[in-house]
Amino acid sequence: MSSPRVKNRPRTAKSPPAQTDSLEPERLLHFYRQMVEIRRFEERAARAYTQAEIGGYCHLNLGEEATVVGLMSALESSDYLFTNYREHGYALGRGIAPGRIMAELYGRSDGVSKGWGGSMHLFDMGARLLGGYGIVGGQIPLATGAALAIDYVSGPEAVMCIMGEGTTNIGAFHESLNIAALWGLPIVYVVINNGLGMGTTVEKSSAEPDIYKRAASYRMASARVDGNDPLAVRDAAQSALASARSGKPFLLEATSKRLRGHSVVDPAKYRTPAEAAALKDADPVAGFAARLGAAGLLGEDDIARIDVQALLMVQEAVDFAEASPHPTVDTLFDYTYASPVPNDSRRLPGDPLFEPSAYPQTGHQA
């Protein structure tokens, strides 16, 4: 084992100041463009869902765009990402072709998971997006194990493991943070705190609603950052990743608002009219546009042009998805086992276990 690393002291960091001025304009515009792309992609996914082109559950990153872009820009391409079922934006952020993501939502064979995963289970080994998990908290032990594997071979990579704030109440969260801190694993746990489970508030579900403080139980460093500020998120994530790479895992909490319901079908009636109205002010895309506008970096023409380009990207993704073939039934048994194994069943539901065979006429005479 790697020699036990220096244990961390709990600390809380305020959001680093957003350094709009220190970044080159093209970089800032790129952030904005990515946020708009996620926004338009998710809106189109919602439409396709209501048109029954997308099945199952469909959870959107609307309201989370700044966090997505900030986090993803902090990762090296060789780092690993584990996340939950609200992950379309993260897949875009890892550079996966939008058409392959949309094709997965459509359940087509060109989807990132070949149509086996759907919205909740996007996976791309090449992009080091290691899922996409539909079970709340299921990704946390796995991500911790990926960090263990990196540590085992003394690799330079780090793991980022994303979850919602409701997930921090599950046992797997606490077991994993304990293990990561004990063994000094290179992992950053990121909690997206949008204040709501499905409809249950963080105050009603977490006895310590300041989620980042939970790291103290494991002597793990932690911080909370404004998830509506992509630059602050990026800076905080970079610090957290640097800590992780030095053998000090980190818990980062990013706060933002979920602009719609829990999933596409949720009308979010548990929100009061005042809460619903306040969401307008919490829109990170509009907020970042205003900020760049105030800095003289983004005009109305730019906003319109970027929007048209994003809509075009999304339309191309939909076209790709629609053109992609449905998986054929002869592939149904292709992925049960990685190592071929005798007596692996390939029976379809109506098939008999055995072909009928006649009792031999000259057979057993009792």
Binding site: S113, G145, L148, G171, S176
Partner: protein, 331 residues
């Protein structure tokens, strides 16, 4: 060939695989400093060090899940869960993750993971520590479940499990650890998914696995001696995939069958075997398939009650004699 215990065969095989492949590492509770609750990992910490023999905190979901994640990145972890009863705490990681990751992501990530864990009663450990719940895992496509009944199979199946690219639940048994047998010196892995006919016979088929497959072999030899009954013993060895062909071939020869199982009868493996025989050898069958299984109670502590609840060699003999009597009545 070397005569050794089931425990020794497991220990030696694990150590040999660790020496052969540096990607193989062990993780579990009390496997290092304490050398394992059942001493399978004796001496391993000293030989391989902390990195490869990881004492985990008491967090089955956490460390089993971590092993799955490490396997996704190409390592070959061997998890020890102290007894199969505790695997329930890791059920989500095993069933919803280890067994799903290869298929759910379209074959992009393999999970070459072994979970070693003993089941079985008879040690007066009471209701929560004496269960035979391996079928929970055998129910799940994506899992492979193997259950050696002899030291030789302990070696051959463990070699196969470690070298396999899928998650394998490797079922050990508390009552088998001290049993002895001949173990081949060569390192040929067994083929997962194949049953073994451990005794050829003409009169009746006995289907079993793990501890009860060892009991079946003893019973068969005793009945040959005492009653002149020629029992064929099918040791399943692999619960998923299930080798139905070997069962059917045997029943087509003997025309009757008894299943010996340490799990509970209702929904147990005997139900699956009986249904298989009904589907594949109905016309050959001369008597109903008989099941010998655990009494349907939580395992009691008191020795008198525990003994009564568990299937015994005597139960097996009676079921075999009664099944053959039923065959005779039909002729």
């Amino acid at each position: 060939m070397t005569i050794m215990t089931y425990r020794q065969a497991l220990h030696d095989t694990l150590a040999a695989e660790m020496r052969r492949d540096s990607d193989v590492f062990l993780i579990g509770e009390e496997i290092g400093v304490f050398e394992g609750a059942y001493k399978i990992t004796q001496g391993m910490l000293a030989e391989f060090g902390e990195k490869r023999v990881r004492d985990a905190p008491i967090a089955e979901e956490g460390f089993t899940g971590a092993a799955i994640g490490a396997a996704m990145l190409g390592l070959r972890p061997v998890v020890e869960i102290m007894t199969i009863n505790f695997s329930l705490i890791a059920l989500d990681q095993i069933v919803n993750h280890a067994a799903k990751i290869y298929g759910m992501f379209g074959g992009q990530a393999k999970v070459p993971l072994v979970i070693r864990t003993p089941g079985g009663g008879g040690q007066q450990l009471g209701a929560t520590h004496s269960q035979n719940i391996e079928l929970f895992y055998a129910f799940i496509p994506g899992m492979k479940v193997v259950a050696p009944s002899s030291p030789a199979d302990a070696k051959a199946l463990l070699l196969a499990a470690i070298r396999d690219d899928d998650p394998v639940l490797f079922l050990e048994n508390l009552a088998l650890y001290n049993t002895k047998g001949e173990v081949p010196d060569d390192n040929t892995p067994a083929e997962i998914g194949r049953a073994a006919v451990t005794r050829q016979g003409a009169d009746i088929t006995v289907v079993s696995y793990s501890r009860m497959a060892a009991v079946a072999l003893d019973v068969a030899n005793q009945l040959a001696e005492s009653d002149g009954i020629d029992v064929e013993v099918v040791d399943l060895r692999s619960l998923r995939p299930l080798d139905r062909e070997t069962i059917i071939a045997s029943v087509k020869k003997t025309h009757c069958a008894v299943v010996l199982e340490d799990d509970w009868l209702t929904y147990g493996i005997g139900a699956e075997i009986a249904a298989t025989i009904s589907d594949g050898a109905f016309d050959w069958l001369d008597a109903p398939v008989r099941r010998v299984a655990m009494a349907e109670v939580p395992m009691p502590y008191a020795k008198s009650l525990e003994t009564a609840a568990m299937p015994s060699a005597q139960d097996a003999k009676e079921a075999i004699r009664q099944t053959l009597a039923a065959v005779a009545r039909r002729s």
